[in-house]
Each structure stands twice: as structure tokens, then as C-alpha cells.
Subunit: 401 residues, 2 copies
């Protein structure tokens, strides 16, 4: 049976991560692939308590529809947290989202027509490309170093693309590289955006999971022209299964995004918003975040120490001050995807995310994203050691051949 | 300060309903506007129990990320419920959504490019237009009578628009009219869709809230060519604040929608999915639904009886067998929006939804949607009586002038 209507649907490419995660579902395999927070850190007792209050004491409201931008109380609480970060805003500037991810979709829906240009870091967050791609943009990419986006390269890109719609950046502990944009580059970035009249989409899911050094001001805190759309998330500081994030934007942009949110899914779960609002009221979230930071610092140190001890010299890696990832760079010509399929999975029983799909324009196969957040200390040591031994063998084999 | 980037964003029109609901926020006003279920029917104790189990016993999974199409257990439970409706499917055909509303967005995202044609009922669900409009479709509309879409008119529309992307229908107790598509028209509709090779988007949020007569088979149950995308919802049988609905579609379409869901918001709340799955396992939802039906039947009867007793003869209304709405038709030339602003709100302190925005192409101002689900019996009687008295006065004034 040939059905023509199928030809009239857009083609959607399966996510490379998704396919690899299916490979890594074998329990014998130690996976550093998924960008999952450590589930042992979820505050179950506290969450149970606030859900119980939300349902039994507030259920007639908390299980009903509410406004599309989210319950006012939680928006006010977020605005207050944002003020502490140097972002001037009130609850009307805050829009509650189905995770930060939904902000990527709605901003693209608001701004991008087929063929419009988005500027991304190179590499960039794969989920952002999944959100943007259905709107059929073109991409221009800006290389990164250990201080984030190369601002000179960005200026050349802006000068060559005056109609660029927005610059997408993950300034804190970027996914996939773990790199943080320096303070001076944050200031240069906002100046460039002002000069070239372009929107910045600042995505900060890992921002509060800084385990070393001082927190840097968000780009949005330098925004005097209402051109930064800031995205935050409860996924890494509370739990991703709640699906709650937020946008902070100008009144005008927040209203546009709210109307798009209304059409996209009406609103976020009233119950989950009510429960998180109660959580912020009833408990001090800061010691909880401090505990996450401490745990991830220990895991990051363990992973990087194990890499130093077991990996061949030819493999370099980033040193994140927060977040969940380090980024491996192999020698030119090394295909991390092929190596995983043909050797790491069958021989070392280890999975990671090959780096190629993180590049919006020109895939570079000699990279991999490795997450230290999900696995136990024992499995981090065991898995990274196994991968290191295999990589050393492979390097020797390559040199011998 | 003039910022050019704002000109590069799409224009989003505020929802007419939203503006009117803000007018109706005054507690002195009896609003029949919102399409809200009766919150006194939410099963708070049972929901509290399943959320507690989901968090305390399953929290490491239930608060973590999961697959984008939703937890397998809940998909299997929905597939089983669908089988009882005559829809052959398995859990791979089911995609959990952020309310049925998200299905409208994702189907439009999958199928609609700027200028593509969508066929809707006339009038149609306002939220569907809010979901479709950002993709900039054209619309063709098909008139309805008491048995749903006029199938002869639909055939003429299809013949004149061979490239139509899909037909959008709410066959059970339609929003806004409360009308149900007859069995024979359901069969004629699927035959026409097969002949003209077009997709049907069957949206059924009120389907299980039938309080009179026999349930009719879903259009999807007659689908032999995988061209019907079925949308269901827990909003009216459990609680809208959970934001859970589902799509049933062919393997191919379900996979495409899942990838779009991944980009749009990653997934629904794992916790809410786990809790609803536990609810379906732990409790019998059927007596709960029976209670909703009984309550809405009583309220519908009260509202329609009060309309019969108090409204002028010139106003006609639909007689729904389920759902939450009746649809008023005033004399030609009557402007229900203007009447609400200028008289019903200030004089009778009553709100409804003026009908004009429910028409995708040509707004007809002499209609209104009235919901009997939200208000208490006392307020239904009081509000409808006040509106009836005011309408009678208005009719007399119009005849006298």
C-alpha cells in the first residue's frame, strides 16, 4: 500500500544519542552517554511532602488548569532567584516551561522561518539542534576554546550574516564540552549583540551546579536592550522528571512566548509547579544544591584522575568547573563513533556519546562526550579504566600498522 | 529605543478567550467561559496515594528522564483502553503528550508548511487554531449540523483542495458546539479521506464524558490505511493539571511525532506518567468516570432547562450528549462579543465565550459558547437566569427601536 500523504510530512532524523542509548541499555555496559543527573540525589522525602500538600490542601487549584505562563507564585520565586544573579526582572518576565528544552522550541518557533540563520557554538547542544531543525534554519558556527566562544570569529560571522536571527550559547559548563565562557567574553558577546542587533539565547541548565571557582554573571545580567532570552531549569537542581524550566525575557518577548506556549501545550503541569513552589517555600534548596555540587566534584575528579592515569597521551580532555560532562579530543582521523560501535561497546563494554552530531554544520568525528554524573564511583573508575586500556591498545595498533 | 530584532519575530495574536477570562476574573461575575472540568470531582485521596508511591517507592526512576514517547507501562495501559474502543494498536503506536493540545502542535509541525491547507469544522476548537496558526496554514472550513460535519460539503472541499494536509475534527461533543458526529458520517468521513488520500486528525478530549446515549466508535476504529491520528486526554477524566494526553498513530507517524516531541520538550513529566499508570493499576477509573458523567448530565439538564425557561425564543442552543458545552445561536446581526462587553458583564455579571474566534475563516458574531462544567448548580441557575432576563430585555429593546 502506497500512501502519498506520508510524502507530505517533514522528515525527522532520529537522534544519534537516542540510538546509542539503546545500544547502551545492556546492564553489562557502563554508559557515560546519557546526560542524566545522579538519581540518588533526588530529595524524595521532601518532594513527597510538598506533593502531598499540593494535592490534599491545594488540589482543587493545583490539579486544575491555570494561566499559560505558569502559576504566579512560582514565577515570583524564580524572579527573586534571578535577581540574586543580577538579572532585573519581575514575575511577568518569567515564563514556566516544560524544561529548558521547551524554550529552545518556542524561541525558534517565534523567530525562525525556513532558511533563517542561527549562530551556534561549535560544538553545541544536540537537543538544541533537535529543537531548531524542524523550523529548517541554516546554521553558522563559532569555534570554542577553553574560555568559550571565539569572539573574534563571532564578529566575523555576524558581519557576514547581518540577518542572523539569534546566537545560541550555553555559557556555563557547556553541553557537550564542559567549557565556561569567561567574564570578558560575556561582556564582549553582549556588546557585539547590541552592535549587530541580534538576539542572544542564553541556555543555563547546569549553571547552579558549579563545584569549583566563582560563579560568573549571566550574560542576561549585562543586557540593557532586552535582547537576551535566558533559559533556566529545575532538572539538575531538583529532578528532570518534573519537567520544569523557565525563560526570562522582556515583557514583549515573554508575552509572545506565552501565546506560543498556549498553542503548544496550554501550560505546564499545575501540580508540579505548585509542588516546586512549595518546595522553595518549605525547604532551603541551597544545602541540597551544595550536596549535588560536592558529589559531582568528587565524580569529576575521579573521572579526570582515571583518565590521566589510564588514557593514552594523545587523548586530551576538558576540565569543567561544573555541570556533568568532559569532552574528549582524539587525534585527527580517529572516528569516535566507529570506535564505540566496533571496539568500546563489544570489547570494553563502555558507552559514551560520539561527538560528531554536536556540530551543527561540519561534523568532526574525533571527539566524544563523557558524563560523570550518572554512574557510581566504582563504575566510573572501572569503565574509564577499561576504556583507557582499550584506547592504549588501539593507539599502539595504529602506530604498529 | 527601537530594536529591529523585534520586527523579525512572528506576530502572535492574543487569544480572545484569554482576554475575556481576564475580564471574568471578578468573583462577582459568574463565568461560563472557561472549558474547565469540575474541580470538586478530582480524586484527591487516590491521586495523593499514587503520587506518594511513585515518589517514595519509584522515585529514582519516576523523577529521572525517560524515553520521549513516555513510560512503556502507561503506553501499554492506554493501548489496552484503546483496544476496547475498537482501535487496534500496541504501545509503540501510543505517544504520551503534554495534554491532547500538544498533539495539535506536533501534527501541524510534522505536516504543515506556510500556506498549506488544513480543513476544519466550522466552528472549530479555538485551541487548535492557536496550535496550527504559528505554522501559517490556510484553512478551508466545513459547515456542521446536529450530526457533525456536512459530508457533502467536505467532499466538495476535498475535490477543490487536492493538496489538503489534514482534516481536523472533534467528533464527540465538539468544542465549541457540543455536537457529536453520527455513525454514518464517521464512516463516510473515513471513506472520503481514503479516496482523497488525506490524513484525519481525530481529537477526543471529551469522548469518555458521554452522559446520554451509546458511545459511537472512534473514526480511528474504521481506519484501514493508517491515516487517522487519534488524540486522547486524561484532562477531563482525571485532572487537567497533570497535563497528560496521548496520540495513537501508525508506527511511522508515532516515530516522527516522538522525534518532534524530543525536540519540543524532551518528554512529559515522568512522575505524572508514573502516578497515572499507578492510578490505572490501583483503582478502577470507571466508577470515577461514571460519577463525572452523572454530575455533568445534571448540570447540563439544569442549564438547558434554565435556558428554556428564561431565554427569548429567538436564541437556539445545542443539546449535547456529553462534554462540557452548549452553543448558542442568536439572531442574524446580533454581536455576542459586543453584547457581553457592553451588557452581560456590566449588567448581568455573566461571562461566556463569544463565538466569532471559533471560526477559522469567516467569523460569525451571533454565537456563544457556554460551559456547564465549572459552576455549581446554584450559580448555573442564577447566572443563566440573569443572562436570560437581560437577553429578553435586549430583544424587546431591539424590536421597539
Amino acid at each position: 500500500m502506497t500512501i502519498r500523504f506520508a510524502e507530505r510530512m517533514i522528515n525527522v532524523k532520529p537522534s544519534a544519542i537516542r540510538e546509542l542509548l539503546q545500544l547502551g541499555a545492556d546492564p553489562a555496559i557502563i554508559s557515560f552517554g546519557g546526560g542524566y543527573p545522579d538519581a540518588s540525589l533526588f530529595p524524595l522525602e521532601q518532594l513527597n511532602s510538598v506533593f502531598q500538600t499540593a494535592i490534599l490542601d491545594q488540589g482543587r487549584d493545583a490539579l486544575q488548569y491555570t494561566v499559560s505562563n505558569g502559576i504566579p507564585k512560582l514565577r515570583a520565586q524564580i524572579a527573586e532567584r534571578m535577581a540574586k544573579e543580577g538579572i532585573k526582572c519581575n514575575q511577568e518576565n518569567v515564563l514556566i516551561l516544560q524544561g529548558g528544552q521547551q524554550g529552545l522550541d518556542l524561541v525558534a518557533k517565534m523567530m525562525v522561518n525556513k532558511g533563517d540563520l542561527i549562530i551556534t557554538e561549535d560544538p553545541t547542544f544536540l537537543g538544541a539542534l533537535a529543537a531548531f531543525n524542524p523550523y529548517e534554519p541554516r546554521y553558522a558556527t563559532v569555534p570554542m576554546d577553553k574560555d568559550g566562544m571565539d569572539i573574534n570569529a563571532l564578529e566575523r560571522t555576524l558581519a557576514a550574516n547581518l540577518e542572523a536571527k539569534f546566537i545560541y550559547t550555553v555559557p556555563d559548563f557547556q553541553n557537550p564540552t564542559g567549557v565556561t565562557m569567561s567574564l570578558s567574553r560575556r561582556k564582549e558577546l553582549i556588546e557585539l549583540a547590541n552592535r549587530y542587533d541580534v538576539v542572544i539565547l542564553e541556555d543555563t541548565p547546569y549553571r547552579e551546579v558549579r563545584f569549583e571557582g566563582e560563579s560568573l554573571p549571566p550574560i542576561k545580567s549585562f543586557d540593557t536592550e532586552d535582547r537576551v532570552i535566558y533559559l533556566g531549569s529545575f532538572s539538575k537542581i531538583l529532578a528532570p522528571g518534573l519537567r520544569l524550566g523557565w525563560a526570562v525575557a522582556s515583557d514583549d518577548i515573554a508575552q509572545r512566548l506565552t501565546l506560543l506556549k498556549l498553542g503548544a501545550d496550554t501550560q505546564c503541569s499545575t501540580l508540579n509547579m505548585a509542588a516546586v513552589s512549595l518546595f522553595l517555600d518549605s525547604f532551603d534548596i541551597e544545602p541540597h544544591i551544595a550536596n549535588i555540587r560536592q558529589t559531582y566534584l568528587r565524580k569529576k575528579n575521579l573521572m579526570l584522575d582515571t583518565i590521566r592515569q589510564t588514557f593514552p597521551q594523545e587523548v586530551s580532555f576538558t576540565e569543567p568547573s561544573g555541570g556533568m560532562f568532559t569532552w574528549l579530543t582524539f587525534e585527527y582521523g580517529f572516528d569516535a563513533g566507529r570506535f564505540m560501535r566496533e571496539r568500546a561497546l563489544p570489547e570494553a563494554k563502555v558507552a559514551y556519546v560520539p561527538g560528531a552530531p554536536f556540530f551543527a554544520v561540519e561534523p568532526k568525528p574525533n571527539h566524544a562526550r563523557v558524563s560523570y554524573s550518572t554512574q557510581t564511583d566504582e563504575r566510573i573508575f572501572e569503565g574509564i579504566s577499561r576504556l583507557g586500556r582499550l584506547l592504549k591498545t588501539a593507539v599502539h595498533q595504529a602506530k604498529a600498522s
